[in-house]
């Protein structure tokens, strides 16, 4: 017979405490908030029933800022005080933003900026004062959190905010700052594709490898994850920050222009009408095979076959990125078990069909591709705050861009390669370049290229008070630590003295989406020229070391040389110095060789002299062990 439970008088049976935590998808165009209400996590709607909050803030002189649709409504009337796409400005300085404006896509930043601080956080002049992208993002987050608190009926104890996988350190930091500004406790920053996988993973309790195919309005991201017994492991990520749903609208627009004989469009109103016609046609093709277009007194028929033809290049680019991501993880296409679609643009049948063809199976579409990221973040928030059992699941994410340090010759030594699981700590030892060098300056960079100038500078700091030693004798251990939010800290330690310098990388600016794209692409295209540049850098370094070694040898043992020998060596040094600044790697190497040759006898004589001295003063095994 079953035993009855009897509770102590006065005590209540223990009821698990449900703590309020939400997931927030802070998007460039729209934002969403999701939470677990009963047993499922769902996105929360505002009073008027809409889930998507346009990521727009309108500032006015007297009233509180407007956020969302009401702000968007002000865009036409008061564009200077209506801020859209603030996410694109996060982690950047004014110069970065101006650079963005020069490229065709970022025509959105037409605001008045405070010009006094062009190399730090940008500030937009509005009637309500100066507003930074952090402040604007904070206003959006604030609106979402009050929506959540009124729907859920209580105070939020924590939030998970999603960020693009390619967000760099500065962009992540500022996302966190924005949340802190409105008093939100950030449990974790979560990569958007990972969040999407989480949204599907828990419900189906799957096992296997998953591709997250995220085609947004202006960017494209692919991630490969593996799921095993509730543990998500990100195997690799990749993307194209200049490819999005907008590009598909564009090919239809171009087609209409050509068919209707409109020529080049310069009128912005005509451009807007064309764009609307293109978008309408694209949407209709989601459910129909043929659509009629009426535009500017022109009528035409547009069908799916034509759309497939026009968008073939764009579709190919998405598939190529998938191929690369799969290859990065050393996985083959047939090992992929599931494909998750994210972003409204993935509703296009051309995309769904290309994906199905490449992977040999259809993508999952049960969850609304606009909401899937927020839902995943909501699930993760629920787990982190402790509502779900710890054993339920775990996320093992990766860092999307390589992190390294500048070494001599302006080369990058990668310390943490991209696609390494985080958190991660890696250390590498470096040494001094000159005799008696007491300061070492460290330059932390992010990117895939071999030359410092092609990567993004994250931070610089110095290690001082290194005890004077001969070049190459000091041992400096540089340690990189990336935490689970993808944030980096670096420290350097001189091993003999234990002197330490460290820095939390918090740069005042970050990478623009275009810059990341450019860096990734050029790292592939330029692998070869990088090698040449690297070879030149190394040749220069070798030359410099030889020149310095010989110069200091002459200082000590110059007496071993006759006048002619001395002149020969000096000329060779001069020649090499010249080649070092002007010449290519081959010339530098040849002249280094030449200097080696003319100084060979000198080196031999010195060696004999010093071995003689050493033999008299020291035991044999010291010499043996120092000569191997």
């Amino acid at each position: 017979m079953a035993l009855l439970q009897i509770s102590e008088p006065g005590s209540k049976p223990e009821k698990p405490l449900h703590r309020l935590a939400v997931g927030i998808d802070l998007g460039t165009t729209n934002s969403l908030v999701a939470a677990s209400r009963t047993s499922v996590v769902e996105t929360l709607a505002d009073d008027s029933g809409s889930h998507l909050l346009p990521s727009v803030v309108h500032y006015s002189a007297e009233l509180e800022p407007l956020v969302g649709q009401r702000a968007l409504d002000k865009l036409a009337i008061d564009p200077a005080n209506t801020i859209i796409s603030a996410k694109r400005m996060l982690g950047k300085n004014l110069l970065d933003i101006q650079a963005d404006r020069d490229t065709n896509k970022a025509t959105t930043f037409l605001y008045q900026f405070n010009r006094d601080n062009s190399d730090s956080i940008p500030q937009i002049l509005t009637v309500a004062g100066l507003k930074s992208p952090v402040q604007i993002s904070a206003d959006i987050l604030g609106t979402l959190s009050s929506r959540a608190e009124s729907v859920l009926g209580g105070k939020l104890e924590g939030v998970v905010i999603t960020v693009p996988a390619y967000f760099n350190d500065a962009q992540r930091q500022q996302t966190k700052e924005a949340a802190n500004m409105v008093g939100l406790n950030v449990l974790r920053l979560l990569n958007e594709p990972t969040a999407a996988a989480v949204a599907y993973g828990l419900d189906t309790n799957d096992q296997g490898k998953i591709i997250i195919f995220d085609l947004g309005g202006g960017t494209f991201d692919v991630s490969l994850l593996s799921l095993q017994r509730g543990v998500f492991e990100v195997l690799s990520t990749g993307g194209d920050t200049n490819l999005g749903g907008d590009d598909f609208d564009r090919v239809i627009m171009d087609w209409i222009c050509a068919e209707a004989g409109l020529g080049e469009i310069t009128d912005s109103k005509l451009f807007a009408r064309l764009r609307n016609a293109a978008i309408a046609a694209k949407h209709s093709l989601t459910d129909m095979d043929v659509v009629e277009i009426n535009c500017e007194n022109w009528q035409g028929v547009f069908n799916r076959a034509k759309f497939i033809e026009l968008s073939a290049d764009l579709v190919n680019r998405t598939i190529n990125t998938c191929r690369r991501v799969i290859r990065d993880a050393s996985v083959s296409v047939d090992e992929i078990d599931n494909i998750v679609l994210v972003g409204g643009a993935t509703r296009m049948p051309v995309i769904q069909e290309a994906v199905a063809e490449f992977f040999g199976k259809r993508a999952l579409t049960e969850i609304d591709p606009d909401k899937v990221v927020a839902i995943g973040a909501g699930i993760q928030a629920d787990v982190l705050i402790g509502n779900k059992s710890a054993k339920d699941f775990l996320l093992l994410d990766v860092n999307p861009l390589s992190l390294g340090i500048e070494t001599m010759g302006e080369l990058v030594e990668k310390i943490i390669p991209r696609n390494t699981t985080i958190p991660v700590a890696r250390a590498q030892e470096f040494t001094t370049f000159k005799d008696n060098q007491t300061v070492m300056s460290l330059h932390v960079v992010q990117g895939e290229r071999e030359l410092v100038s092609d990567c993004r500078s994250l931070a610089r700091f110095e290690l001082r008070e290194i005890p004077p030693m001969v070049a190459g004798a000091a041992k400096i251990r540089v340690s990189f630590q990336v935490d689970a939010d993808g944030l980096l800290s670096v420290s350097a330690e001189e091993l003999s003295t234990g002197i330490i310098a460290e820095i939390q990388v918090k740069p005042s600016f970050g990478l623009s989406a275009d810059a990341i794209e450019e860096m990734l692409q050029s790292s592939q295209e330029n692998a070869k020229s990088d090698m040449e540049a690297r070879s030149k850098g190394e040749a220069r370094l070798e030359a410099q070391q030889l020149i310095e070694a010989i110069a200091s040898a002459i200082e000590v043992d110059g007496g071993l040389l006759n006048e002619k020998e001395s002149l020969l060596i000096k000329t060779a040094i001069e020649e090499l110095r010249r080649a070092k600044t002007e010449g290519g790697s081959v010339e530098i190497r040849d002249l280094t060789e030449e200097l080696n040759r003319v100084s060979g006898n000198f080196a031999a004589r010195r060696m004999n002299l010093h071995i003689g001295t050493a033999l008299r003063g020291e035991s044999i095994d010291v010499i043996e062990s120092s000569s191997d």
Binding site: G158, L187, R188, Q228, R229, G230, V231, E233, N320, T321, R323, R324, R327, V383, L384, I385, G386, A390, K391, L394, L395, L396, T420, T421, I422, P423, V424, A425, R426, S479, Q481, D483, A484, Q524, A527
Partner: protein, 177 residues
Amino acid sequence: MQTINKNYFQLFSIPEIYQLDIGLLGENYRGMQVEMHPDRFVNAPEEEKMRSVQRSSALNQAYDTLKDPLKRAGYMLELQGLNVEQVSQHDLGIDLLMEQMNLRESLDKLPKNESALNALNRLKKEVLEKLNSREESFSNMFMDSELATAKKIFHEMQFLQKLLIEINQGEEQRLGY
């Protein structure tokens, strides 16, 4: 900084052999991350959070080393006190250099367009087969405590691995991405 007194094999409670059970390694790794990952310490005091970041990082480092056949081989040699950074002339036999030269020549000779893709694929297969057979002999030599030979095979594997990376790059260039 956190130090782990166990070696990576002991850390994951798996036998200290080269041809290990990758499935078991992954399972144990994930099981330990479930306990140690910073996500489990979100509401913990700062000090515990930091300890979790260090432990979780160390686990990642260990897993990263053991799951990769080349890194695993190097690590096992290091555990035996060998310095794998140091390559002596003795480690590189003339037969290895000849083999490398032949493979590289066949790689360089290939046309720089898509027509080379099939040939690249064949070359890749060949290198992979060589790599597999080296892995097997490494395992045998290591078990027989023939460490010098094992080290020599390890360096051969390094060469082959590098070649494989170049073949992959060649493939990517020809595919245009």
